[in-house]
Amino acid sequence: MRAPAGATPPPRVPPGTLRRVFWRCLFLQAAWNRRGMQNLGFAYAIEPALRALHPDPARREEALGRHLQFFNCHPYMAAAIVGGAIHHEEKVAAGVEPPSQPLLYKQTLQGPFAAVGDGFFWTALRPFFGALAAVGALLFGWAAIVAILIFYNAIHLALRIRLFRAGYEKGDAVVAEIARLGLPVAADRLRGAGAALCGVAAAVIVARSAALAGLAAGALAAVAAALGYAALARGARLLPTAYAAALFGAAAAAVVGSFHGSR
């Protein structure tokens, strides 16, 4: 159906404003609080788009009020919801959707997207790159850290931009787009690979310990790793166990040293 001649085109957010919103998405958690969680961050991020869509201050304030309501999601995945909320706000501004629609969209997707984001980014991708960077640092020094950091952020920022675009262009269909990424399967593989990298790091440390302080020191480090894993698996608390590991190493080395000294 063609629009009648002289009809106003539906309001669209200019590309420059979209870029500004994306930049502001990076501050989503700046004022994270227990009451509204990321509410203030969301309102801050989407505000330039609302200014472009609602020239009337009263309607703009009403829209801003909608986005000051409770919101919480994974900070990377939230980019898709910010994009999608703008998609719906454009329709609200055009009068084809009720003002409650952007809020409904946010409320529906924030929980599932948070679960996907926590499961992939926070408990798989970032720890994997952390372990990879640790092994890289042990073997090759600071240059490995820089390279791995660039690689991680190329992935992280590309995904964040892609999610924002998909949300904005596809609205509700962003769910299918995210499902296509297969993040949960990739997360499982990354977690396994990360655990293996931790094993490699432990071997490097044991070898280095043996080279610097003798075979007994290497053996003590290996024992600390094995006993430490067993203790943590049984529910031991991290910091006290770390103190125990360090003091065990030092005390055992002192005992071994005293035997050597007494000969």
Partner: protein, 232 residues
């Protein structure tokens, strides 16, 4: 001056950790070398970077749960190790590093408690933003979001140099007071670092984490023994 530099590094890391970006710049693996470099000893920061990253690999912000403040702990440990090494005139050695860990690591728990204060402060900011919007000050309402960055910055900028200063005073005193402690403490550092690897594997919560960790450890250790690699 060194304390001001450390304060700036720690404060910016605390902001990046949650309030802005989250690009791994505040993770121990990045922050420790940056802190070391900023204080004039990149290698000192690198010495603690990998063990601290693996030790705190599970420190992630899931939902409303608050993890330990690994950035604050790292800034204090790296700063304390570098400053103590300089005070001793030996540079940052494993024995200096392990003492810095023992002295400063609890700051990560203090940081978690401080994060509760930050959340309460942010709640007041959100309430104020709602009130400002009700009074038609939309611009001021959304700008309030950025004020949420101030308190995390301030807390880390104060606590990290305090922790580092404590390490700078205590570590030379211990190592000069007990000259025989250096050797055992060096082994203690490697025991901590090896434990940190186990902690990282455990934090990954992979289905077969234990098997993968020990198999990879065995294979890499055998390779190291066979080829004599992995030397510092």
């Amino acid at each position: 001056m060194v304390y001001l530099v450390l304060a700036l590094v720690a404060g910016l890391a605390a902001v990046e950790r949650k309030g802005f970006l989250q690009a791994m710049l505040s993770r121990p693996i990045t922050l420790a070398p940056i802190a070391g470099w900023a204080l004039g000893d990149l290698q000192g920061g690198l010495l603690v970077a990998a063990p601290l990253e693996l030790f705190w690999l599970g420190a992630v912000n899931l939902g409303a749960a608050l993890p330990v403040h690994e950035a604050l702990g790292t800034a204090a440990i790296a700063g304390g190790a570098v400053l103590a090494g300089r005070a001793l005139g030996t540079g940052t050695s494993p024995e200096v590093a392990i003492l810095a860990v023992l002295i400063c690591a609890p700051l990560a728990l203090v940081g978690r408690k401080a994060d509760r204060l930050v959340e309460a402060w942010n709640e007041r900011l959100a309430l104020r933003a709602e009130a400002q919007l009700a009074h038609h000050h939309a611009g001021a309402a959304v700008r309030a979001n950025l004020y949420g960055l101030l308190l995390p910055f301030g807390i880390a900028a104060v606590l990290a140099p305090v922790g580092a200063a404590a390490a700078e005073v205590a570590i030379p005193a211990v190592l000069r007071g007990i000259p025989g402690a250096a050797g055992p403490l060096r082994v203690g550092f490697f025991a901590f670092a090896a434990f940190a690897c186990a902690s990282g594997a455990k934090a990954l919560r992979a289905r077969s984490a234990r098997a993968l960790f020990f198999i990879a450890f065995g294979v890499a250790a055998a390779a190291a023994a066979a080829f004599g690699r992995f030397r510092p």
